[in-house]
């Protein structure tokens, strides 16, 4: 069952504005199942999020999602992907930004732009080990500080180690 119709022209407009601002930091776009995904270079994410919030009305950060593409990702893919789900409530528009990072490669924290990112980034750090630079207090949110490993990585066993 699908939602109401996605306002494609309005989304395209927002995408065009973002591409104009971000330039070659936009690595690709995809539109499927009524949802727009914009792939960005990791260092351009914070500027894009701030731009979308200040000038395009995407004032709500719905969620940040971490993905593990596998310990040996395919050629050209990096290990982790971090997704940012942004929402423009006045226009009822959703946009998903995606940034790929390699193991050990940090991402800039967007807590300064959206306070709601605070615990979401801690959760991604806890479950995947992705480091967010500039986060005021980056530590595990669910597991004990002494816990070893990052459970949502594909090479971490379901029942845990030992």
């Amino acid at each position: 069952m699908t939602d109401g119709p996605t306002d494609r022209p309005a989304l395209d407009e927002a995408l065009a504005a973002l591409t104009a601002r971000a330039g070659d930091a936009v690595l690709g776009t995809a539109f499927a199942k009524g949802e727009l995904t914009v792939r960005l270079r990791p260092d351009a994410v914070i500027a894009a999020v701030a731009f979308l919030k200040a000038e395009r009305g995407f004032t709500a950060l719905n969620d940040m999602i971490g993905l593990d593409n596998g310990p040996a990702p395919a050629e050209g893919r990096k290990r982790f992907t971090v997704l940012y789900q942004l929402y423009n409530r006045e226009a009822r528009l959703r946009i998903r930004l995606a940034a790929d990072v390699a193991e050990g490669e940090p991402l800039a924290s967007i807590v300064g732009v959206h306070k709601a990112a605070d615990w979401a980034e801690r959760e991604i750090f806890d479950m995947f080990g992705v480091v967010f630079e500039g986060h005021p207090d980056l530590r595990r949110v669910y597991l004990d500080p002494e816990f070893e490993g990052h459970p949502l990585r594909k090479d971490f066993p379901l029942r845990g180690k030992a």
Binding site: Y142, L143, D144, P151, F156, P157, L158, R159, G160, K161
Partner: protein, 177 residues
């Protein structure tokens, strides 16, 4: 003897040759104990809601004398482990149990407390009896209030068979057992 965690009253169910007066005293003491459990108000997850529903007006745990949920373990004698015990919560559950004075009983309510339930994962303790000894297991996900009451009645029957006077009047040092 049993593990250092087990209370001294465990293992007193079968007793040969107890004096007549002491058995009568046992019956009186266990009658008082089983009709006035004071549960520790410790709900961990979904089962806690059914525990509260059991204490509410329709299922009325007060008819069993158990409506007095205590917030402090020092005043409780029944630890109903209602919900999933995670590895992070396990030391706290153990400490709460140790803080309860004797005699005390433990009920594992729900599948998670019995064996980890539907969560065979890295963070869930597969059964609370890995850290504390359990007297009654009540299965269900969650058990209905009728199920919990059945578990409580089973616990009452278990308590009725113990012999508290054996613990009270023991002559030798308990620690040498």
């Amino acid at each position: 003897m049993s593990s250092p965690l087990a209370s001294p009253h465990r293992g007193t169910e079968s007793s040969e040759r107890s004096p007549f007066l002491l058995t009568k005293l046992d019956r009186f003491i266990t009658w008082a104990q089983k009709n006035s459990f004071w549960p520790l108000g410790s709900g961990l997850a979904c089962c806690a809601i059914e525990m509260i529903a059991t204490a509410a007006a329709r299922y009325d745990i007060a008819r069993f004398g158990m409506e007095l949920f205590r917030a402090s373990p020092r005043q409780a004698d029944l630890f109903i482990v209602a919900g999933t015990v995670t590895n992070k919560m396990a030391p706290i559950v153990k400490r709460l149990y140790e803080q309860m004075p004797d005699p005390k009983w433990v009920m594992a309510m729900g599948n998670c407390a019995i064996c980890g339930g539907p969560f065979p994962t890295y963070s869930v303790l597969q059964g609370v009896d890995k850290v504390i000894p359990v007297d009654v297991y009540v299965a269900g996900c969650p058990p209905t209030p009728e199920g919990l009451l059945h578990g409580l009645i089973t616990l009452q029957e278990k308590v009725a068979k113990t012999h508290p006077t054996q613990v009270m009047f023991k002559r030798h040092d308990r620690r040498t057992d």
